[in-house]
Symmetry: C2
Subunit: 205 residues, 2 copies
DNA sequence: TATAGTACTTAACAGTGTTAAGTACTTCGT
DNA sequence: ACGAAGTACTTAACACTGTTAAGTACTATA
């Protein structure tokens, strides 16, 4: 009985591992239940024993992605840093995550939610942790006088969406070929920071 | 013969009209060749007489979208306006277009190009006109001393991608429910403009 | 009137997600 | 020890998808 349960979870894990591997190596739109099954060594319908449907399997992968980005961020920001430093680290970490993990980024942020099952509420809360950390950072910067902010939550979403736009533009190859990618990224980050520190940097006043 | 040619183009137009209508009313991912054919009154394979494949048909619709947004922009900006006015108009027009035409926006900016046939070079040039106009506006603002810009082309892409991020965030319902949509949009636009006018507005210097 | 070309259709292929039904096998209660 | 129940899986099937090959009327031309 105990052995059975372990074996059961073995197939589940195998399906998840295969899916993750295939997602990264072949891309989201080559991810099919039958292909996963073939690779995982079971029939396509067996997947449904462990995941309600394809979306549920995808949600599990999306979860992994959010766990990745959360631990990346957590490992890089620090209460000891000045808010402006944490802000820049947040921006660059997010961008780097997107560019390093385009397939994860796609399922996490590019899949049209309208076409998918609703992302479970509990997972959703986890998914929004990074933007909460960003809002906290902004609030702290505002309190300590580094930033000029009206509403940290709104501002955090503005910044987050701006970074998202930059990442997708790069991933989709929509940046003019004349533009150096690093220059573009630096410009985006600079733009974000400028928007918060207006009139606060040394300008001879 | 002349009559035939007209009739021929009639079916092509009917397919295109049906596709556009179905795209807007049912969404991109409910757009199938068989459904279009059924609605247009022909067989699915007849579509292939006028469009190389589904992507080519989609490209035609995407083209329409870029024509729409281009004429929207052209109708709203003016050489007589101050660059800052044109900039804000550009931003708000683009955002409004995205929110008013989510299905067009999806096929124009959200479809992963990797999964599609290459967008024809000539069309691509037309598609990039809005961002060129934006770059021109920035350059003009820089020349006349309104903006502080390093590279107008880079800056235009930064702004464009930032707006894109904002639009997709709204369309994908990724904006926190506590945030008022108009507040968010205003914040985004303000953020864009701030990034260009740093140290130039009246600040008591 | 036969030929060539136009404008279309039907049938089929290979793939998709998903469900219903069936099959071994294992464990449990009597 | 034996039938019942439950587990872990599979096969077959449905209703779709984009796309191609082959076939069918019809029409204009030589």
């Amino acid at each position: 009985m105990a052995v059975q349960l372990i074996k059961k979870q073995d197939l589940r894990r195998s399906i998840l591992d295969t899916s993750r591997h295939m997602l990264v190596s072949e891309g989201f739109n080559h991810l099919s239940m039958r292909k996963i099954a073939r690779e995982a060594g079971c029939s396509a319908t067996s997947i449904y024993l462990y995941f309600r449907n394809k979306d549920a399997l995808l949600h599990a992968l999306i979860d992994e992605g959010f766990e990745m980005i959360f631990s990346l961020i957590k490992g890089k920001i620090s209460e000891d840093n000045r808010p402006a430093v944490n802000l820049e680290v947040l921006c660059r970490t997010f961008i780097k995550f997107g560019l390093d993990n385009p397939e994860y980024y796609e399922i996490m942020f590019l899949l049209h939610p309208k076409n998918m099952d609703r992302y479970p509420a509990e997972n959703f809360r986890r998914a929004t942790r990074p933007v909460s950390i960003l809002a906290d950072t902004l609030l702290q910067g505002e309190k300590t006088g580094y930033f000029t902010i009206q509403d940290p939550v709104v501002e955090a979403h503005v910044i987050w969406s701006s970074l998202h736009g930059a990442i997708t533009a790069i991933l989709a190859n929509r940046i003019d070929v004349r533009i150096n990618q690093q220059d573009f990224i630096d410009s985006v980050v600079q733009h974000v920071i400028r928007g918060l520190t207006r009139g606060r940097e040394k300008n001879g006043c």
